[in-house]
Amino acid sequence: MKPTMRLSLWIAATLLAGCTDIGTPTRPIPYESRLFIPFDNQGQPAVDSLRFHWPRTAIPVRYWVEDSVGAPALVRNAIATWKTAFLYNEWDATVVSDSNSADVIVRVENIPPKPSPSTIRLASLRPECEGATDVDTVATRQEFLVPVRVFLNPKFQSDSLGLCLRITATHEVGHTMGLLQHSGDVNDIMFTDPQAIRLSDRDIATVEALYHREADMHPVRP
């Protein structure tokens, strides 16, 4: 076969191989991430489900983190971990030094009582440390009060405290992104008693789906 013919065939084969569309994957079924409120505006029993994610105008979300037990590094690591879940820059966050401008405030302390009856607390429990995220939808149900309050509490010193805080910080940052439920699967970082050291495919699918749906609540600052 002549070299020119061989080259032509190779080019034709390259062109033919290139005439395809990319195949989209089948993603895992997301777990529930909406906030369920068991009473209506008048306080009567009635279940309401509310979806929240940060709007594009609020990105990057600003986290203020108390400088104790390496919490700023833990939150930065959590932000970097969650950022890998996104393919299209749907969410981003940064740690800021001014708590006044923060969308999320992370404190390292014993978890205090809920500040108001309308606050919904999402807590995670592990032996060595605990975490909590307080969410307040205010009265109208369309409003998501910022700054969101997050608490990290190292309960006692142990070899696995660092790992516990890392997992808990990632879990709580997940709540602040809008994952307002716990998963029922121990392999998910959003499991009530988080064990997973990385995001599961379901964590990724859930947060991806969340940021591609319409939110019911928008952030408001009092």
């Binding site: 080259l7 190779w10 080019i11 390259t14 062109l15 191989a17 290139g18 005439c19 395809t20 569309d21 990319i22 195949g23 989209t24 994957p25 089948t26 993603r27 594009r56 950022k83 890998t84 996104f86 393919l87 299209y88 820059n89 749907e90 991806e208 789906a209 591609h212 749906r213």
Partner: protein
């Protein structure tokens, strides 16, 4: 920029192994349009596309036979990339490409018109390692066809207007690790003007 270094080395090697009288160098500036880089459906369809890309093309060739020449061509582009979902655009940063082609060129049947056909590699260089590029930009095989119109400018110099068509495919390691299959065919059309100099 390993591809750029390789290109430079090959160009120097080419230039030093042939008689200086035989070498033809060219440089062109222009713009390149690209088709959709990828499509996805999370909830609604999403498409990712690069904008019109400013383009620099450099070429070096030596005679091969009476009418034809063989050489190398490098093409550099830079463009913004955006994802579109339900008519809303999200900026995904910028994307550079560096292409190196082994090219053959010769006259077309119409006077002052020439062709260049080349095959080679295209490296995608994203500005940020995030999103679809969080495991880096891919290197893909590409084929290019260019039609050129040349006119004398000065003795030994010609100006050139070129129309380029390129075909390559696109996927990334991140997309493959997420379960995306096959790759997306990318069509690229460029218009360029520049000069050619025979040495």
């Amino acid at each position: 920029m390993r591809i750029l270094n390789i290109t430079t080395l090959i160009t120097i090697a080419l230039a030093t192994t042939v008689s200086a009288q035989q070498v033809r160098l060219g440089a062109r500036l222009g713009a390149t349009w690209s088709s959709t880089l990828m499509k996805d459906v999370v909830v609604s369809p999403i498409s990712v596309k690069a904008g019109i890309a400013p383009t620099l093309a450099l070429s070096a060739s030596i005679p091969s036979g009476r009418k034809y020449r063989l050489g190398l061509e490098t093409v550099f582009t830079t463009a913004s990339v955006k994802a579109t979902e339900n008519g809303v655009d999200t900026d995904l940063g910028s994307l550079r490409t560096a292409t190196i082609l082994l090219a053959a060129e010769g006259p077309l049947m119409v006077r002052d018109f020439y062709f260049r056909i080349g095959v080679g590699l295209m490296k995608y260089l994203p500005s940020e390692k995030t999103g679809i590029f969080q495991q880096g930009g891919p290197t893909r095989i590409t084929g290019n066809f260019t039609a050129e119109y040349r006119k004398d400018l000065h003795p030994g110099w010609e100006w050139v207007a070129a129309a380029r068509y390129g075909l390559s495919s696109f996927t990334t390691k991140e997309l493959q690790s997420r379960g995306f299959t096959r790759s997306q065919a990318i069509h690229r059309v460029g218009l360029e003007v520049g000069v050619v100099k025979d040495f």
